[in-house]
């Protein structure tokens, strides 16, 4: 077991390292992208550019620059922005994290409830009218561009109906729960539904597929021959076996989201979470910020992937025997 953990850890570190190098190369090594001119401003003279380069160590060889950046990021933890000179990166990320978490937790609750109920209803009523109906909504949910959906939602809540039904919906932004729970809720309710819609569609479809597959298995026939009720067979046997896929999917999805993958939703609703921060970094070509956010995100992806592996062994007894 310790060997297994050590291997996993080594592989995780390797993945994070590779991602960091890749991002670094994309942003630093692509011709035409000159961070110095970014920092110094558009109309900087060559002299200013040279000075900026020197200050920020931009004229050193690539590996040194990479090492420096990693050093400032992880060890000294004082990495500063290229765009807003002097602003430290890490505090920005830590300030943004709870916002992303608030967004995700609400969305998770909604999509799990809606997605799993829809999947179960569709599978139970396979072939009857409600099955294709539910699946159609599922397909529609995954066909809607998230950013556009967010804008449409804003259009409805901030447009004509803003003076009547949706007067209580704020125009984007975030209020911390410690400041005002009610405000926190009103700021997040629509982003929750927007983010949840895509995932609800995905989970409904996956669960329906899994349930229907599992209901055709031999052990379901055995359970029926035992005299168990159809309800018990569906929930205790078929659903329990379908959970294996759903849980691993869920773990990866949440991991990626915590790491900032909800950036489109955050941007459209003006929620300054990690995704929003990443987006700011990307569009401003604020390389340290980008690096910080990407490392943050990669960490969670790797963590989630490992957690899912462990969880998998817990919910599928067949896996436990092997390693």
């Amino acid at each position: 077991m310790p060997r297994f953990i050590a291997k996993r850890l080594a592989s995780a570190i390797l993945v994070m390292f590779t991602i960091s190098v890749l991002v670094f190369l994309i942003f630093f090594a692509t011709p035409g992208v000159n961070p110095a001119s970014r920092i110094a401003g558009r109309s900087a003279t060559p002299a200013v550019l040279r000075q900026v380069s020197k200050e920020f160590g931009l004229n050193r060889p690539l590996p040194i620059r990479y090492a420096l950046m990693m050093y400032h990021l992880f060890i000294k933890q004082d990495l500063t922005s290229y765009v807003n000179i002097g602003d430290k990166i890490i505090p920005q990320i830590t300030a943004a994290a709870p916002i992303t978490l608030s967004l995700i937790s609400g969305a998770v609750v909604i999509w799990l409830l809606v997605g799993t109920s829809a999947g179960i209803i569709a599978a139970k009523n396979k072939g009857k009218f409600i099955d294709p109906l539910v699946m159609f909504f599922g397909i529609a949910a995954i066909s809607i561009p998230v950013y556009w959906l967010g804008e449409m939602v804003s259009l409805i809540t901030q447009g004509g109906l803003h003076s009547s039904i949706f007067a209580w919906v704020p125009n984007g932004g975030y209020v911390s729960i410690t400041q005002s729970p009610v405000e926190w809720f009103t700021h997040l309710i629509f982003p929750w539904f927007t983010l949840a819609s895509l995932y609800a569609g995905i989970y409904a479809r996956v669960l329906r597929g899994e349930l229907i597959n599992n209901m055709n298995e031999d052990y379901i026939r055995t359970a029926r021959a035992k005299g168990l009720s159809e309800r018990r067979i569906l929930y205790r046997h078929a659903l329990r076996c379908s959970m294996i896929t759903i849980v691993s999917l869920f773990g990866l999805d949440v991991g990626v989201l915590v790491g900032g993958a909800a950036l489109l939703t955050e941007v459209v609703f003006g929620l300054p979470g990690v995704g929003w921060l990443t987006y700011q970094g990307l569009t401003n070509l604020d390389l340290p910020l980008i690096m910080g956010c990407v490392m943050y995100g990669a960490f969670f992806v790797v963590l989630a992937s490992a957690a899912v592996d462990v969880l998998y062994a817990y919910i599928d007894p067949r896996i436990r025997v092997v390693n």
Binding site: D218, Y219, T222, A225, K226, G227, L228, S229, D316
Partner: protein, 328 residues
């Protein structure tokens, strides 16, 4: 069972899987149903319990269990019959158990579905049952998962589960087909002993006449969804009447008789989509006559029935010629 018929509506036409099957099972009796793959033997028993979930299936006829009609009952009504009155053992032990629950839990689940028991009582009884079917160290093994057991062991678990509520009838669908010969003998032995202890009737489905000879009291021989011959095991084995049964018996390899070639029944099993209007076996039958274009009725004397147009005199003649030729 009276006149059970099961058909499936498929894209290529109606498949008559079972066509007019009738038989009785007495208490404490072992009835063997034997036939080739596709003869409808499994489908018949599954449809009896409503375990065929295909939307395109049509079941007709009558099945009386202890005087009560069980064909056509709803799932809710069947719940007390399944598992409680009728236990079932399946062909493939590797996939018969739910992989995510321990075997003890699964047995206890059945117990508690049919009896008022606490979890503790059910678990204890489950352990007892595991011991009865010959699982070593049952107390700790009850907490193991199905994949931690070998095929033969898993089949024993399934048997334990099927017998857990003292059912009046046990249906065993090819219980030994997926197992090696040694395990096969052990399982059959186990079933025989348990039957004596619990006093349940058994319907055992198999394609192997050897298994029939081993434990069955009475036999139903099926071909193309129709009964070919029904009778006491000794009668059927020693004095079979239907040419198909002759084929099945001849096909049993024997260690005491020197043969150069294994006997087979010529031709291929009939396609369920193209069952002849007359005798289903006629196309493959050495002794077919013109009258075989009409479907022979199931008839006979002394409890031994057959669906064949051959008269007793004709059979006698066939037998004597065969003896002369050195075949039995």
């Amino acid at each position: 069972m009276r006149d059970l018929s099961v058909s499936f509506a498929t894209r290529r036409g109606v498949v008559q899987a079972v066509d007019g099957l009738s038989f009785d099972v007495q208490p404490k009796e072992v009835l063997g149903i034997v036939g080739e793959s596709g003869s409808g033997k499994s489908v018949a028993m599954y449809s009896m319990l409503g375990l065929v979930r295909d939307a395109n299936v049509r079941v007709s006829g009558s099945v009386l269990f202890e005087g009560r009609e069980i064909l056509g009952l709803t799932d809710t009504e069947m719940q007390s019959v399944r598992g409680g009155q009728v236990g079932m053992i399946f062909q493939d032990p590797m996939t018969a158990l739910t992989p995510v629950y321990t075997v003890g839990w699964q047995i206890a689940e059945q117990l508690r579905a049919h009896n008022e028991m606490t979890k503790k009582q059910a678990n204890e009884r489950a352990t007892e049952l595991l011991a009865e079917v010959g699982i070593p160290d049952p107390k700790s093994r009850a907490n193991h998962y199905p994949h931690e057991f070998s095929g033969g062991m898993r089949q024993r678990v399934v048997i334990a589960m099927a017998l857990s509520c003292n059912p009046k009838l046990l249906i065993a669908d090819e219980p030994t087909t997926a197992l090696d010969v040694t395990t096969q003998a052990q399982i059959l032995d186990l079933m025989g002993r348990l039957q004596a202890t619990y006093g349940s009737s058994i319907v055992i489905i198999t394609h192997d006449m050897g298994v029939i000879a081993e434990i069955a009291h009475r036999v139903v021989v099926m071909y193309a969804g129709r009964p070919a011959e029904i009778g006491p095991e000794l009668d059927v084995v020693r004095a079979a009447r239907h040419p198909y049964t002759w084929g099945l018996l001849g096909a049993v390899p024997r260690a005491d008789v020197k043969t150069r070639r294994l006997v087979t029944i010529p031709g291929n099993a009939v396609s369920p989509l193209a069952v002849p209007a007359g005798c289903a076996f006629a196309p493959r039958c050495e002794y077919r006559m013109d009258i075989c274009e009409q479907r022979p009725p199931l008839r006979g004397a002394n409890d031994h029935l057959d669906a064949c147009w051959l008269s007793d005199e004709q059979r006698l003649e066939i037998r004597s010629t065969a003896t002369v030729r050195g075949e039995s």
